[in-house]
Every structure is written in structure tokens, then in C-alpha cells.
Symmetry: C2
Subunit: 326 residues, 2 copies
């Protein structure tokens, strides 16, 4: 798996090569934004941003297209969405009591939950400052509504811990958790490029499908991933009562009723048995198949709207989604 | 004190009477914004917004002036700043382990810290959606930068708990914590009303002075306030290692060096002795005198720019600041 993932990472880098110039601009904008007069804080942000593959800004740049990708508003949107994403990670890591993020200690583990609450707020506010540089009200609204959706979704997920969601609930929750930000990244890029409304909607569908595929692939990695590759322990979700798609497919198959109450934590042997049933029942493959369908349909939404290296990259991202590179 | 504070509250209401129509619009905008598809969440927000005197939106409306106070962008800014303020309170209450806010249980005490982190994010995001309705980029930037300042200031305060700040540090910290939001409220109102740059800067000074006066009065109430009136226990700040102005004035007088490290918590008898020294030394009055100076200079910044009932209300707010009504 190590070799395979290195090849994948190399492949992604190669395919995102057409974005080299605008991605460097996004990076510079982020680095400038996280300079503060509090050295510890800046260092903590630098550590956080030293990891991550910048998939979300890449989506923004690709959907803005070759002609617009280096324009200041597009760069600002890409940078602000990556910062928004990172701010949510700071707060997620408090809630998940996570010690490691992108291979580095989390802000909450180093500085405590109180500081991490404020650092997340601060980074979100910095992102909001950067996004005003788009000078595009609809883009600003999309930015703000993305955080509304993410935080509302996470609140709902917290409230439903250990509850069996229906298929619709599951899709809604992973849309809020992950796909919404990809949708905004794609939609925002297309919007700032001045594409017609109908095309903007199709790019939004691309982002949505890509994000759903990413999240499902992440669900699958909760079973089969290796900690080295992702820098986070596996079965993390299962252990804290968040059911991931393979187990859900099994539960739905067994006709478990919607909102069945599950025990707070499974004893090790039951967890072992459940994982065995999920893997042996082919549910991991079925989940991956669903991810593949979302990824394919994402690509089909925009395949006739893009050309050349950008088209290759947009298509490649849908394949990388299935490997959950970030 | 109870009777006195009722009179004060009645007086404030009377003086803010010219704002009745726009304040109702602000209220309606907030209520609409906090409707969610999660009943518990909406209820929690409704409880939070059932308290509070709406001083910040009142400042926005007054600085926008009679002609503009009911315009949609001004209403949106007023509502969004009150929501931003409330979002920071949700996170503050986690950090302060506060059980009560505005006479009601805090969100963190009812739903736990994890949900309160997400609710604060969510309410901040809702505020960011509302502020886009101003369709004024500078106002949007002011909004975002306000949260940058608030959260950076609180981070610094956390890092310096039990450290003796210098006079400059103290002023910078209370600007970040409180005055900055008043400054933005005043500046934003003047900006949206289309006032000339020089006047906008003077309204900003008004808000800043008003906010400094408010925070110093709050510092004083940490010594002399009654829990009934504010819905929060007194000596709250002192007990958690945040030094408030009367004690700081004493410390500076005694020539305690900048950044002197103080014990994590004072034993009850030492705390008692400190309070006695502060009160007997007249430091509470000296702090109030400083608050009065900021309040007076706030009013002087704009006294020749406003007329009639709005002028009366702007002036009255500077007096109410000294009683710390919210």
C-alpha cells in the first residue's frame, strides 16, 4: 500500500502540474494571512498548513479554468476555502480528542482545547477576511453558507451518535461534512470565472459528486486504511460511534430500523466480529462501488465543458477521490 | 442598586425609543436567521437572544443616522454584529466554564462543550451570511476583521493568564475583547450611511471610546456588581486569573513589574485582602474615572455631527456604559 500511495501522490502532483503557478499564489496568500503578532499561533498554523494536499483550492482553480485560474479573486477564494477547511479541522480535533493531524500534533493537544477553540475562530475569521478580496457577493455568500452547512451537519451528527441513520440521512450528513465544501470550491471557481448559470450549476454538481466520493472513500479507509498513510488512526469513526458506510450497508441489508439505537461503544470482540462481517460480506467493495458512481457522475457533469490539461486534472481528481489522498 | 438599575434600564429604553422601528427590524432579522431545521438548536439560540440589551446594533443604527437607520444594509449589519457577539459568548462560556448567561443556562452547560463549539461556529456563520446583505465590501471586511481581533485578543489573554499586563497591554486587550466590536458597530453604521471618510473615522472613535468605557465598567462590576443584575457571578475574572482594572491600578501603583507572574489562584483570605486594598485604596473610583474619560471623549468625537433624538441617545449610551447595562 505504501508504494501504491506514493505512486498515487506522484500521479496527483503530475496531473496538478498545470496549476503550479496559481497554486503557488494560493500558498503565498495563505502564508501571508497566517502571519500574526503571536509567534506561537503563527507556528501552529504553519505546522497545520505544512500538511494537506490542497485539493479544495485545486478544484476552485480547475473550475475557474486556465484563463482565470491566476486571477486574484480566484486565488483568494481558493486560499480562503483551504483556510476554512483547516479551521474546521482545528475544532474537529477538539471534539474528536485527536492527538495527530496531518502527521503533526493537533493544536488542541499542544495548547489545550480552550486555545484551540479560539484559534479555530481566528483562522475562520482570517479566511473570511481573505474571501472579501473576491469582491463577489455571491462567492462571499457561498463561503458563509458553507460553514453554516458544515457546522449544522456536525451538530446533527453529534446529536445522532450511535444512532443508525437512514440512507438519506447518511447522504445529507456526508454532504454537510465534506461534499459541501467541494461543491462550494467548484461552484465558486466557475462563478468567479463568469461562466453562465447553467454551467456553474454543473460545476457545483461536479464538486458535490467529487466530495461524496471522497467522504465515502474516507469511510472505507476507516476499515482498510493504514495509519501511516493518512496520519490518523483507523476505526476512529467506528470507535466513537460514527457509523461509516460499509457498516451502514450491512445494517440496512439486515433491515435494522432507521434510528436504531446502538451501544455507546462496542466491546473489542464485537467490534472485531462486526468488521469481519462487513469485510466478508463484501460491503467495503459495495461502498467503494458507490463512491465510484459518484466520482463518475461528477466527471460526466462537466466533461464537455473542459479541455486539455485542466480536463485531465478534473478527471484525475475523481479517481484520486477513491483513494482519499487528503 | 436594584431600584437604581431598573431606573437605568427604563431610561435606556426611553432614550432608545427613536430606534423602535429599526430595532424591531434588527430583531426580526435575527429571529429569521436563527430558524434552523434542528429544533433544539433554534431553541438554544432563542434563549440566548431573549436576553441582552442590543447595545451594539443600537450603536450601528444611531451612527447610520435617522435617514438611513431603517435601510436593509444597516439592519443587516446591526443584526450580524449582535449575532457575532453572541457567537463569541457561546465560545467564551465554554472557556470560562460558565453555567449562566443572561440569566439562562449556557449552551455548553446544557449541551456540552462539543456542541457549543459547533453552535458558536454555526451562529458565526449565520452572522456572516446576514452581513453579506449589506452588499458593501468594506463593511464585510470590518465584520471579518472584528472576529480576527476578538479571537486574537482572547488567545493572547489566555496565554497571559496570571501575568500582570502593562497599561498598554491592558488597553490593547480590552480593545480586542470589547471595544473593537463597538468600534465596528459605529464605523459600519457611518460607512453604510455614506458619511465622508473623516466622519466615519470620528464615529469609529466614538465606538472605541464607548467600548473601552463599557469594558472598564465591567471590570469594576467584577468587584462591586451584584449577580442578580448581570446574571453572572462577580469576581469571576479575578478568580480565573484575569486581572481587572482596579487591581491593575493598585499593582501599577505599587510598581509591580510588567509581566510579573501571579499565582494561579489566590487563597480566599488573600483574595479578600486584595479586594479590600483595592476598594480602600480608591482604585475602584479611579477605574471608574478612567471609564468616564473614555465615555466623555467618545461623545466629544461626534457631538457636532449628530442632532436631535439620535444625539441624545448617543450621549446617553456613554452614560449607560458606566453602569454596564449589557
Amino acid at each position: 500500500m505504501g508504494l501504491h500511495s506514493n505512486v498515487a501522490a506522484l500521479g496527483l502532483e503530475t496531473l496538478l502540474a498545470p496549476l503550479q503557478e496559481p497554486m503557488a499564489l494560493v500558498e503565498a496568500r495563505i502564508q501571508r494571512a497566517i502571519q500574526t503578532d503571536q509567534p506561537h499561533l503563527t507556528e501552529a498554523y504553519q505546522a497545520l498548513f505544512s500538511g494537506g494536499k490542497r485539493i479544495r483550492p485545486a478544484v476552485t482553480l480547475l473550475c475557474a479554468g486556465e484563463r482565470c485560474a491566476t486571477e486574484a479573486p480566484v486565488i483568494a477564494l481558493g486560499a480562503s476555502l483551504e483556510m476554512l477547511h483547516s479551521a474546521t479541522l482545528i475544532h474537529d480535533d477538539i471534539i474528536d480528542r485527536a492527538a495527530v493531524r496531518r502527521g503533526k500534533p493537533t493544536i488542541s493537544s499542544t495548547y489545550g482545547a480552550d486555545s484551540a477553540i479560539l484559534a479555530g475562530d481566528h483562522l475562520f475569521a482570517l479566511a473570511a477576511v481573505v474571501v472579501t478580496e473576491t469582491r463577489h457577493f455571491e462567492a462571499l455568500r457561498v463561503f458563509a453558507e458553507t460553514l453554516v452547512t458544515i457546522s449544522a451537519g456536525e451538530l446533527e451528527q453529534l446529536r445522532r451518535l450511535n444512532c443508525l441513520p437512514s440512507r438519506d440521512d447518511y447522504l445529507r450528513l456526508i454532504h454537510a461534512k465534506t461534499a459541501c465544501l467541494f461543491e462550494s470550491a467548484a461552484l465558486g471557481g466557475a462563478l468567479l470565472a463568469g461562466r453562465p448559470t447553467e454551467e456553474v450549476a454543473r460545476f457545483a454538481r461536479y464538486g458535490r459528486g467529487l466530495g461524496l466520493a471522497f467522504q465515502i472513500a474516507d469511510d472505507v479507509l476507516d476499515y482498510v486504511g493504514d495509519a501511516d498513510r493518512l496520519g490518523k488512526p483507523t476505526l476512529n469513526d467506528m470507535k466513537r460511534g460514527v457509523l461509516t458506510l460499509p457498516a451502514l450497508l450491512l445494517a440496512w441489508d439486515r433491515g435494522l430500523a432507521d434510528r436504531t439505537r446502538l451501544p455507546d461503544s462496542l466491546p473489542a470482540d464485537e467490534l472485531e466480529r462486526l468488521i469481519h462481517a462487513v469485510v466478508e460480506g463484501g460491503y467495503v467493495e459495495r461502498a467503494l462501488e458507490l463512491a465510484r458512481e459518484y466520482a463518475d457522475s461528477a466527471w460526466e457533469s462537466v466533461s464537455d465543458l473542459v479541455q486539455g490539461a485542466h480536463a485531465d486534472a478534473l478527471r484525475a481528481l475523481t479517481r484520486f477521490a477513491l483513494e482519499r489522498v487528503d
